[in-house]
Amino acid sequence: MSAYVVGGSAVKVDRHFELGYRDLAYRVVRDCSECLDVDYVVISSALPELSAHQIDLGTHVVQWLGRRIPVVRVESGESSGLAAVELAASLVRSGGARKALVLGIEKVTEYPTYTTNYFYTLTLDYEYEVLRGVTPPAYASLAMKELIKSGIRRECFSEWAIRMHENATSIPHAMLKFKISYDSFRDAQVLADPLTLYDSFALGDGAAALVLSSTPSRSDSSVEVVYTNAEVGLPAYARERISDLSASTKALKVAVEKFGLNLRKVVVELHDSYTPYPIAILRALGYLSNECGLGEFEHLNLSGGLKARGHPIGATGVYQVYEVFKLLTTGLGGRTTSSEYGVVHSMSGPDNLSRVLVLKR
């Protein structure tokens, strides 16, 4: 049996102080006509125990939506969203569900940013990294330094961020819909030298929904999930180079070879929590030289990526799949593509766990 994405919706990634987890869930489902006719719900969320004192979030959300259907919550760090889509596709393919609703929901504004920063840091190993003062931007900074030493120009990382902001300007649900320039980096707040705030993702609340079905809907409004894969990498401290993102590179390479894809031509959404990571991955796959070459990609992170659409941690993967689904079908933010395939990449931490999903028109 096959699994098709037949519908979806997304709430603007933002600081939704007036909306909690279940409010966000209600809002995104309310805007999605296909979302009500389902027999299973998979919820992805990384932080509710920490940010909302809530375990078993999935059950409480489904009850709030007035439904009596089975639900499971998926938590897999920053890759939770893509893990949830992977699980839903598996349920649909196996006959465990006829139609599954995937709900990615996250709240990151319940506490001051420095508290949410601490929650986010827990994507690393608490006992062996976090307590030792190691943080995600520290790793990203060290990766950036390694890449610069190996010949990549600093401007390549800036170019990534500039392109993401440019892309996000037309995306209805993007958080940062404004352009930045190379000058922006000159006075940017430093997170971990040389990594700046402009090299980092935007932190926002969010909710996105997808409906996966064992049968396609009208031919122009559904896409097939043709491939999912997950790879676990080495802990960053155990690598010879922190910028060696072997799990992501391997997962993407397998997908590229299996379907004969050229990432410069197809719709691609890469996990760009920090600018060094997509640059390291594309370089390892042979798409980037020291001179960069981001301009050669036709449909790279048209959503604006985590950088500018925003990163509602456990919901981000659902946003990514929703965006690729829209780009392959009815269009997103006024954009359509003729690409037959769409590739989604999501990872947790500095390549601790990386997932890839391929959609086919």
């Binding site: 940013t113 420095y114 508290t115 920063n117 601490y118 840091t121 006992e127 062996y128 990294e129 307590l131 030792r132 003062g133 190691v134 943080t135 995600p136 931007p137 520290a138 900074s141 060290l142 330094k145 390694e146 707040q189 430093v190 997170l191 971990a192 030298d193 990594l195 080495l234 802990p235 960053a236 401290y237 155990a238 690598r239 010879e240 922190i242």
Partner: protein, 131 residues
Amino acid sequence: MKLSAPQFWRVRENQYKLVITICGDCGKKVVFKRPTCPYCGSGRVEYAESAGVGVVEEFTKVYFKRDSSEDRLPEVVGVVRLGEGVRVVGEIVSIRDSEVREGMEVEAVLRKYVSDDPYGIIYYGIKFKPV
């Protein structure tokens, strides 16, 4: 922040010492005493204690504000290549952040990690200072 006494006590050997795991199959070494080799998955491992001296291979000055970090920013986080050949990530202390250099020789010291202020548990563990 609520700190757990049992959780930290369980991992005290890896927090108070620099233990190296040596794989009996692939021969690779990695920091921390662990039951399996992260490179090949083998459970045939041996352990050795590091002398705690190494060289800073990479470092960054971190301004990332988070709970428990307020009183110590900026902090210098570095990758230290120990004399036994393995890399370990940790804070570099007892030196002005502007004076940290790649290639600098450092040694492991016991320092405060975090505490349940003002009267709670204090976690101590390994950081690095110049030799």
